[in-house]
C-alpha cells in the first residue's frame, strides 16, 4: 500500500512537472466564495473588461495585509484613472469574523472589491501558504506576477508592473 502511494506520488509529480514546463497559461480556478452581503460568487467572474486585475489575500488578523490594503486604497483612485486596474481584496477570515469584514472595510473607506473566503477554498486553490499574497492578472486573465508578504513601499513596485501590463508589455522576465 505504502509503496503504491509513493510510486503514484512520484508518477504524479513527474507528470505535473512535465505539464508545468509546457503549460501555456495560468488562469484563476473556479471556486465558489462569498461577497460581503453573503452572496455566492464564482472566482472565474473576476474580470475587468480587458484591463489588469489585482487579487490580494488578506485577513482582519493580519497587520501587514491591512497596511498593504491601506496603501492600495490611498492610491486606488489615481491607479484606476491611469490604468483602469481593478483590485479584489479576498479576506480569508473564518466564521469568527466574516461578519466584521464589511463594517471594517466601510470604516476604513476602502473602495476595492472585497470578497470572503471563509474556509480557505480559494486560498488553497491558489496555493497561498501565507498572507499577504498578491496576484497580478493581465487583461486576458493570465496570472503574470505574484508576491508574498508586504513591506512599506511595495505598492510602488506593484504599480510599475500594473502600468506595464496595462500597456500590453510582457513582464514575465521582470
Amino acid at each position: 500500500m505504502k509503496k503504491t502511494i509513493i510510486l503514484m506520488a512520484v508518477l504524479f509529480l513527474g507528470f505535473t512537472m512535465y505539464a508545468q514546463e509546457s503549460s501555456e497559461r495560468k488562469k484563476l480556478p473556479s471556486v465558489n466564495i462569498k461577497t460581503l452581503d453573503g452572496k455566492t460568487f464564482n472566482t472565474q467572474d473576476i474580470y475587468n473588461d480587458g484591463k489588469p486585475v489585482v487579487v490580494s489575500f488578506w485577513a482582519l488578523w493580519c497587520k501587514p495585509c491591512k497596511k498593504e490594503m491601506d496603501a492600495y486604497s490611498e492610491n486606488y483612485e489615481d491607479w484606476q484613472e491611469e490604468t483602469g486596474v481593478k483590485i479584489y481584496a479576498v479576506s480569508i477570515d473564518d466564521a469568527r469574523s466574516t461578519a466584521k469584514v464589511l463594517p471594517f472595510v466601510s470604516g476604513k473607506g476602502w473602495e476595492m472589491e472585497v470578497l470572503l473566503d471563509p474556509n480557505g477554498d480559494f486560498k488553497r486553490a491558489m496555493n497561498v501558504n501565507m498572507i499577504p499574497h498578491t496576484f497580478l492578472l493581465d487583461g486576458n486573465g493570465n496570472i503574470v506576477y505574484q508576491h508574498t508578504s508586504y513591506y512599506e513601499g511595495l505598492e510602488d513596485e506593484l504599480y510599475e508592473l500594473i502600468e506595464k501590463v496595462a500597456a500590453g508589455e510582457d513582464i514575465s522576465n521582470h
Binding site: 500500500m1 503504491t4 502511494i5 503514484m8 506520488a9 508518477l11 504524479f12 509529480l13 507528470f15 505535473t16 505539464a19 508545468q20 509546457s22 503549460s23 501555456e24 495560468k26 488562469k27 480556478p29 473556479s30 452581503d37 453573503g38 452572496k39 455566492t40 482582519l60 488578523w61 493580519c62 497587520k63 473564518d94 466564521a95 469568527r96 461578519a99 466584521k100 464589511l102 463594517p103 471594517f104 472595510v105 466601510s106 470604516g107 476604513k108 473607506g109 474556509n119 480557505g120 488553497r124 486553490a125 496555493n127 497561498v128 501558504n129 501565507m130 499574497h133 506576477y145 505574484q146 508576491h147 508574498t148 508578504s149 513591506y151 512599506e152 513601499g153 511595495l154 510602488d156 513596485e157
Partner: protein
Amino acid sequence: MMKRVLLLVTAVLFMGLAARSQFSEMIKKSEVHGSFEFDGAYYMPDDVIGITDSMINGRNFAFNGFGNITYTLGKFSAGIRYEAYLPPLAGFDPRAEGQGFPYIWASYTSEKFSFTIGNFYEQFGNGLTLRTYEEWSLGYDNSLNGARVTYEPVRGLRFKGVYGMQRFYWTPYTKNSRGIVKGVDAELDFNQVFKKMSESKVQLSIGGSFVSKYQADQDPLYKLPRNVGNMAGRLNFGVGRFNLSTEYAYKINDPSAINDLIYKEGQGFLISATYATKGFGLYAMFKRYDNMSYKSNRAITANGLDINFLPPNTETHTFMLTSMYPYNTQPNGEIGFQFQLNYKVPKKSKLGGKYGMGIAVNYSQVNDIVRDPVNVPGTDTTATGLPGTDGWTSPFFKFGKTVFWQDFNVEIDKKFSKKFKALLQYMYQTYDIATLEGHTGMPTVHSHIAVMEMTYKFTSKNALRWEVQGLWTQEDKGDWAAILLEFTASPHWFVSVSDQYNYGNPDEDLSIHYFTGSFGYTYRTTRIALTYGRQREGIVCVGGVCRAVPASSGFTLTVSSSF
C-alpha cells in the same frame, strides 16, 4: 479508498497518454500549481527558562514541512499533499510525528455539478454542523476522506452532500476506531432565483444543513446513541446598509468525554447585525453555545476529529502582548456578545489632518451559561453535569456568574505625513485563566495593555517600524514590557529585533528577557526567514483552535514558496 482514488487518477492520466496525438494538446491545456513550506528548528538548552539537555533528549533538530501539487485540465482537477513532521516542532502534538500523503483528491466540476473523491474541506453555514479545514501553523487538519457532491440546478439554489471519515494525524481508519460522517446542505438565494427580486433592495437568502455521525457503542456501562444528528437553519437578510445574519443549530444527545457523558441535547445560536456606510461601520453580535461539542470520536478530548466549528466571538489580537491571553471557545457552554465600531475621521478635517484618522472601538464578553440541576435517574436526588444524567437545564438568554472573558479595546491610527504614521492601542482584559487554560484555582487575570506602533519611511523603499508595549496585571506572571524594531527594504529584505521582558514577575528569578532577532528575504512568492532567540511559553490560536507553545530557545528557519 485511497488506492481507488489513485487508480482513478492514473487511469485518467494514462487515458491521456494513450491518445498520443491528443497528448500534447492536453498538456497545453493543463495547469499545474503547487506550494511548499519548510519550518525547521534547532533547539538549545537554556537554564534561564529551564530547558536542559536532558529535556531536549537529543532531539535538537525538528522540522515540519509540506509540499502541495494541484493539476487541472479543464473540468478535471486533482491534487496531492505530502507532509512530514520529523520530529514535530515544539508544541505540536506528538502524534503528528511521521510523514506521508494525508491529502489526495480528484474532482470533476461543471457549471451545475461537481464531484470530489478523496480528501476534501467543506463548511456548512458558519460551521455549527460541519466544518473541515486545515491550519498549518497549528498542525490542525480534520479533512474528510470520502466523497462530496454539489449540485446547482439554477443559479442561487445549491445542494451539497458529503460522506466520509476524518483525518486523525496518521492513524488509519479501522472499524470502530472513529465515526463515519455524512451530511447535506441546501442554500437558496431569493435574489438570484426569483426574477422579481433580482433588482430588489431587500437581499434574502436562507439555508439549512443536517449532519449525522455514526460510531459504534462499545461502552460497558452506558447505552450510547450510535447515530448523532446535528441540524441547523440560517438566514441572511439585508436592506441597504443594514445586514442581519443568523444561524441556529440543534444537536441530539451525544454523551462524550468532553461533556462527561451527559445525555443532554446541544444548542448553538449566532446572530450578528451590521450597519455600514463609507467611513463608518457598526457591528453587534450575540451567541450562545450549550453542549455543542461534536466530534467523530466521542472519546477524544483534545483538538482533533471535530466535525463542527464553534466560532469564538472575540477580537483576534496580534501584537506580542495583546495576544498573550487569547480566547478559546468553551464547547460545553458559553454565552457572549460583541460590539465594534469603525470610523474614519475625514481627510482635511481638524482631527483627521491631511490623510484622515482611523478609530476602532471593540468590546466583547463571554460568560458561562447558567446550569440548573436535573434529576439523577433511579434516585430522588438532583445534580448538575453528572455522567449518565441529562446534565443540566439552562435558561436560554441568562448569563452565568462566571466571566470567562472580557475585552475592551480602542485603536487609533493616523498618518501624519508621507513619511510618518502611528498607531495607538489600549486594551482592558479579563481572562479566566483557570477555565481557559485549565490552571484550576488560579485567580482571573485582569490586565491593562498599551501599544504604540510607529513607522517612518526614509525613502520610498526603506522603512523603520517600532513598537513599544506594556502589560500591567497583579495576577499570573505580573507586568510585561516589550519592544520591537523592524527595518524593511522593499521588495526583498527585512531585519528585526524584539524583546519581551517579564519585569513584574512575582518570582524575581523569572524576571526574564525573551529576546529574538530575525532577518528574511522575499523574492516573489519565495520567502526565507531565520530567527534566533527565546520563545516565551504561550498559546497560539487561529480561528477557534489553540495550541500551547512551550518555552524554547534556539534557531528557527522558514522557507516557503508557491507557483
